[in-house]
Structures are given as C-alpha cells and as structure tokens.
Subunit: 234 residues, 2 copies
DNA sequence: TTGCCAAGTGTCATTGACTGCCATACTCTG
DNA sequence: CAGAGTATGGCAGTCAATGACACTTGGCAA
C-alpha cells in the first residue's frame, strides 16, 4: 500500500520503530508539529465516527465534524481528500495489516489459503486492538457503517478493487509467476474481495454478529465457492 | 430488475409488444406525452455520452448536457437520479438483458455455466444493436468510460453488487434451493461480477479490444478461477 | 536570542451537484 | 371546452470540494 494520499495513511507502528520509548500513546518521541497533526487527525476521525454512527453518514455535514473539533472546514480537506476518504482510511488500515500478514505467511501455503489466513489474522488483530476512549475496537462498527451506506459501499468496493492489483502482485511473486501474463493471481484477488463483500453484507444484516462470526461466515463462503462454480448443486 | 428508479429504466422492446405498427422507431403508437419523454430522455443520454467521451465525465457539467438538449437543469434530475445514474442506465440495460437470457437458458445447464452463457448472449446482443445515429453500439465505449472514471467505477461496482441479489435468487430457483440458507448462489453471483470487473479492467487497458475479445478474456478468467483457488500454481 | 523558511491553518470566493417549492404550461379524459 | 393530472422551468438554498491568498507557528541555524 504505498499510498501517498493527501492525508497520508494512518502511520503504522512499524513505520518508525527506531526511537526508544515509543510507548503507550506513541507520541512522545515526535516533534510538536507532527504530534499536533496526529492529534487533529485523530480528533477528526473520532468526532466524525461518533457523528456518523449517531446521525448517519449522509446526514452529517463536514461542517459539523469540523465544528466538533474546532478547526476550519478547509483544513478538513487537507487531512482527508474527501468525506469518504475519512472512512476509507480505516479500510486502508485493514489492507495494510492484511498485506503485512500476507507477507508473513509461509511460502509452503497455497496462495489462496495464505490469503485467507492473512485475512483472518489481520481482522483478528485489528478487532482486538482496544481503542483509547471507546475501549472497543472501532472496526466492526466501521464495517457496518460502510455496508449500510450506499456511498461508502461504492467507494469501498472501488478501493478493494484497486487493492487487487497489489494482492495479485504479491501472490504472483509467492508462486514465482508473472502477474502481467498469468491471470490466476487476479482471479484469486478478485474472488477474495467479492467473497469479502458478500460476507459483510450477510454479517451486517443480522446486527448481532461478532467479528469471529464474520470470519466463520467468510470461511463458509470460501468453502462453498468451488462447488458453486462447477456442476449442479443438487 | 424490478427497478423503480426515478427515471425508470430504458423501456425494453419486450415491454409493450402488443400494439401493431411498433415499427422502425417504435414511437408511433405512444401518446404524445410519453413520446416526448422518450425523446427527451434519449436526447439527454446521447448528448451526455458525447460530452463524456469528449471531455471526460468529471469535466462535464450537468449544465452543459442540459444546454445541449435545451432543457432546464432541474428537469435533468427528474429523468436521472444523478449524473452517475445516467451512465448506469446502460448498465441496467445490460443487466436486464442478462436476466432475460439467463431465464432462457436450459435447466440442464449447470448454474455458473448458464450464467456465463447468458452473459455472452447479452453482451453479444447489445453490442450488435446498431445505434440510430452513431451506427455503432454504444456499449463498448460505455464500458471503457466507466472503467476509466473512478466515480463511475465505484457506482458501477455497487450496482453490480446489488444485482447479485437477483442473480442469486434466479440461480437458486433454477437449482431448487433456498438462497436464504444456501450460500452457493451468492458465491456464484459474487464471483461472476468480480471476474467481470477484472475482465473489464484488462480489456479497457489495451484500448484496441473488440467485444469478442472481452468475452474471450472473461472466459479465460472463468477457466482459471478454480485453479486459482486451490493448491499451488506451479 | 533572533530571524528566516517551510509547514499548517484560516478566510473568502467560487463551482458544481443536487433538492424543495411554487408557478406555469402542457396533455389527457370526459 | 373544462378540469384533473403531469411535465417543466425558475429560483433559492444546502453541501462537498477547490483555488488563492494571508497569517501563524514550529524547526533550525547563525
């Protein structure tokens, strides 16, 4: 994810692992300017999320978010390319975690298996990550928010589709083939995120599901796919 | 596609096949009001497409489209829910053709095979359909337009995802299973349109491809999918 | 400490996509 | 032709997004 988006993606812990004392909040070792930027960004994310959950994405004006954080509307768009981008930043976090996990999977694992395992690991990691104030991971509610908001759904699907390129590249590399001529890595990536989307749809519809439920559902979709593509079903 | 969108989908020829003399333009048997609406709608589609192809979707204002047709901007939004919706109306045409063809596939055909065949038939039919003025089918350029415009790409992906529901329903019915409990029809539908999207991406990138090329590419993706999901590739 | 440069922010004006409201014009039906 | 119903236009207003420019602040070096 060598994203160079306007706002930059949420800095991963791995990005600057050198400084000692990168403890609890992880801000102590930064320059004031950088610290303030992180604070502002974080405040925006937090305020936006609260408002979105409360009144819905569509019925929340950017103005309301910036008022809550007391910055100008103009500044919002210096942190996020647009309103959707704020929400998608969480999806980017998931993706980068996914790619990290994928890189860590043993080479002996078949590609699609590795992808599934990496996904499970990434989701588990992020869902376990306690949020400072909320005390709970925000990711489950983010997923619900996206899947229940048409505009975000569209943006998210396009985003995952863009990610296919990198996933295909990594899978191809794992298997020692050329993604420019071999279509299999693209198939795997495409199927992966289409199954992801049906999973989310189903998971989000019954609002009682835990993250583990989602993973189970996802696995079920994966297991059923081969059978769904060949022959009759009865 | 029981769409009841603001503008209604482009009426299919089959929609009112009763009146005699539904000849050449197919408008003679309609009331004046209905005729005018069709004309306006058609003019909007035509003008919009021309502008989009010329200056790009993003750099074409709704105002320019309505000026070209000499109607008010307000009226545009009575024909189309929004700017994207105009382009998506073509996607809806493709979908309804797809569903028609799917319904016509013999029951002996396995579900995914039927879906692939229906897709081939639908695309072939629509691509062959000569356009009054252009003399050429507009669909290939529409697909390129969508795939090269992020906003349309997102909207289109969401749209096809919505269509999965109906596809899954039809496939389930074919096989005599319940789509509410069986995930296979959803797998098939989801994989179908994810492969469709990778196909379009590849096809659109080399701008020389014919529609037949696209179908061949799509078939190739379908053939490679089973292998891409299990085991190693080398 | 001082002072400079760059980065971050605010203000303002503007564009473009939509939406609601109401007045007007047209079409259809009896 | 009259009245009901429908299509359209005009207008005001909201909201997202962007460019231009001025101002403030943090980092750094003399």
């Amino acid at each position: 994810m060598q994203q160079v988006s306007v706002a930059g993606s949420t800095e991963s812990p791995a990005a600057e692992p050198l400084n000692a004392q990168a403890a609890s909040d992880g801000l102590a070792d930064l320059q004031r300017r950088e610290r303030k930027k992180r604070q502002t960004r974080h405040a925006l994310l937090r305020a936006a999320l609260a408002l979105f959950m409360d009144k819905g994405y569509d019925h929340t004006a950017v103005r309301e978010i910036t008022d809550a954080v007391d910055i100008s509307e103009r500044t919002f768009f210096r942190y996020f390319a647009n309103k959707e981008d704020l929400v998608l930043s969480f999806a980017r976090d998931i993706t980068s975690e996914l790619m990290r996990e994928l890189a860590a999977r043993p080479g002996a694992e078949p590609p699609f298996t590795a992808l599934r395992a990496a996904f499970r690991a990434a989701v588990t990691t992020l869902a376990a990550e306690r949020d400072a104030e909320a005390g709970e991971s925000v990711y489950p509610s983010i997923i619900r928010l996206i899947d229940s908001t048409p505009a975000l759904m569209a943006a998210h699907m396009r985003y995952t589709h863009e990610c296919d390129e990198e996933i295909a590249k990594v899978l191809a590399e794992r298997e020692g083939i050329d993604p420019a001529t071999d279509r299999r890595p693209w198939c795997a990536a495409a199927v992966f995120d289409s199954l992801l989307h049906v999973t989310c749809r189903e998971w989000q519809e019954e609002d009682s599901g835990t993250v583990e439920d989602m993973l189970v559902t996802f696995d079920s979709y994966c297991e059923h796919t081969a059978g769904a593509l060949s022959g009759h079903w009865t």
